[in-house]
């Protein structure tokens, strides 16, 4: 999912590798399993993730997208977690009168070791999701996202980084908590582990009574043109209403844009409550303003629009049961050309232990 070009500075990977080695050292230096938790509460390895099947009709072309996104979680002792996520997805479409054909692709989104150093700090090393905004890290899984189509500005913030990250969250008062993530990533031109040499940070503050989170992100390339990117995010779940409001703004040398999304669950509607409480209506408005002449379109899974674009989206989700969701959405692409995009499908979140869990 990387979109910046890569050409030089291979030698710069070696010092960065040392930082990585230094950060990984405690993995072997500190006793891994000094369990302080009772046996029946000791974490067990888990295979979780999500699977889905979506059909998109985009400007008259139908595309079928089956995908499986497994997540492996391996806890070690009381303070360690090794976690990984991969994506396997197909993109099949059909020319007129022809059978469906396409490609099956794969990505390694993250493969990281987390060390929970204390209540303020977690040290992460390996390949991790780049912490920029909230969509890439928190909302991307298909069973979580309210609209199957990612926002227009998603390519600015998406991607993975190979390096070291310091992150954490802690209360700053009885009514607010602060969260942060600061990272350094090295250049990696390996196709499966591609990343740029960048440094960046994201921080946010969450006000727990009104349930409002605001935050900002910044990233600087340490290669080539040493470009900057920054963004802001906002989220609000007003406590008395089953409403979820989210927004993001991002700006990079390629362009800038924003999205605002509202998702309302009809759980407070008394009529047909058994059905209505499982139903969610989603609306999103987004705009993208094209920046420099170079475009972030290098054949990745996602790419930025080629020109100023705006797109309203509407969607309906129905939660069949825990972790199983049916979705349908409509979007109107308004750019150099205008067209409709329809999407419908189903997403399922699974979780299974890879060890004995005992009875509950």
């Amino acid at each position: 999912m990387q979109y910046f070009s890569q050409s030089e500075v291979r030698r710069s990977a070696y010092p960065a590798l040392w930082v990585l080695v230094c950060a990984l050292f405690p993995l072997f230096a500190v006793p891994l399993a000094s369990p302080q938790t009772p046996d029946n509460e000791r974490p067990v390895p888990i295979l979780t993730g999500n699977a889905g099947y979506f059909t998109t009709v985009d400007n008259g072309t139908t595309e079928l997208v089956p995908e499986v996104i497994p997540v492996l979680l391996v806890p070690l002792g009381d303070k360690w977690l090794v976690e990984s996520r991969a994506e396997f997805y197909g993109e099949f479409d059909s020319a007129k009168g022809q059978p469906y054909a396409g490609k099956v692709d794969k990505d390694l989104d993250y493969l990281q070791a987390d060390y929970i150093a204390n209540r303020y700090l977690t040290v992460t090393a390996g390949r991790f999701l780049t912490p920029f905004g909230i969509y890439n890290e928190r909302l991307y899984p298909i069973w979580i996202r309210d609209l199957n189509q990612v926002p227009l500005i998603f390519p600015i913030e998406s991607g993975s980084s190979d390096g070291v990250m310091l992150r954490g969250g802690f209360p700053v008062s009885s009514w607010a908590s602060l969260n942060y993530a600061t990272y350094f990533s090295t250049l990696n031109t390996n196709a499966a582990l591609d990343s740029d040499r960048v440094v960046g940070t994201r921080t946010g503050i969450f006000f727990n009574r009104p349930r409002i989170e605001i935050g900002g992100s910044w990233r600087k390339e340490l290669m080539e043109e040493r470009d900057n990117a920054f963004g802001f995010h906002f989220a609000w779940q007003p406590p008395p209403i089953p409403l979820n409001l989210r927004a993001e703004y991002a700006r990079s040398e390629y362009g800038s844009g924003y999205w605002i999304e509202a998702a309302y669950r009809f759980s407070q509607v008394p009529a047909l409550n058994q059905i209505m409480r499982r139903t969610e209506f989603v609306g999103r408005m987004q705009q993208y303003f094209s920046g420099a002449e170079k475009l972030a379109d290098e054949g990745g899974k996602y790419s930025l629009p080629h020109g100023d674009t705006q797109q309203p989206d509407f969607g309906l989700n129905y939660y069949l049961k825990d972790g199983l969701k049916a979705s349908a959405s409509y979007a109107r692409w308004l750019g150099t050309h205008n067209w409709n995009t329809w999407t419908y499908g189903i997403a399922w979140r699974f979780a299974m232990p890879l060890g004995r869990v005992g009875g509950q």
Binding site: C22, F25, N118, N208
Partner: protein
């Protein structure tokens, strides 16, 4: 020069991780450290539910409860992914395993 810089940059990370990773005297599991009486238990569960809705509900619908050993892993994962606080993690874990 760059190598020296990288080593120097790595040392604080290493020292911080080792220092902070040393077990503290009063650290323990969610249930054994927090709960000292039935009254506390009820309060903890209510507070845990509140924290659960506040933190987890910000991104996704509430999942069903999993067995305690699975929940311990999931909450640890979410602590890292969603940068929830240590206290929130313990309370959510307590609520989800009772």
């Amino acid at each position: 020069m760059k190598k020296q810089f990288a080593i120097l940059a790595g040392i604080p990370i290493l020292v911080t991780a080792l220092w902070a990773g040393a077990p503290k005297k009063n650290e323990g599991s969610a249930s054994t450290t927090i709960v000292s009486s039935t009254h506390d238990s009820v309060e903890m569960r209510l507070e845990g539910e509140k924290r659960f809705r506040t933190n987890c509900g910000r991104c996704h619908a509430a999942p069903h409860k999993f067995p305690p050993r699975m929940m311990a892993t999931i909450v640890r994962h979410m602590r890292v992914r969603a940068t929830i606080t240590d206290e929130d993690m313990r309370l959510v874990l307590y609520y989800m395993t009772q």
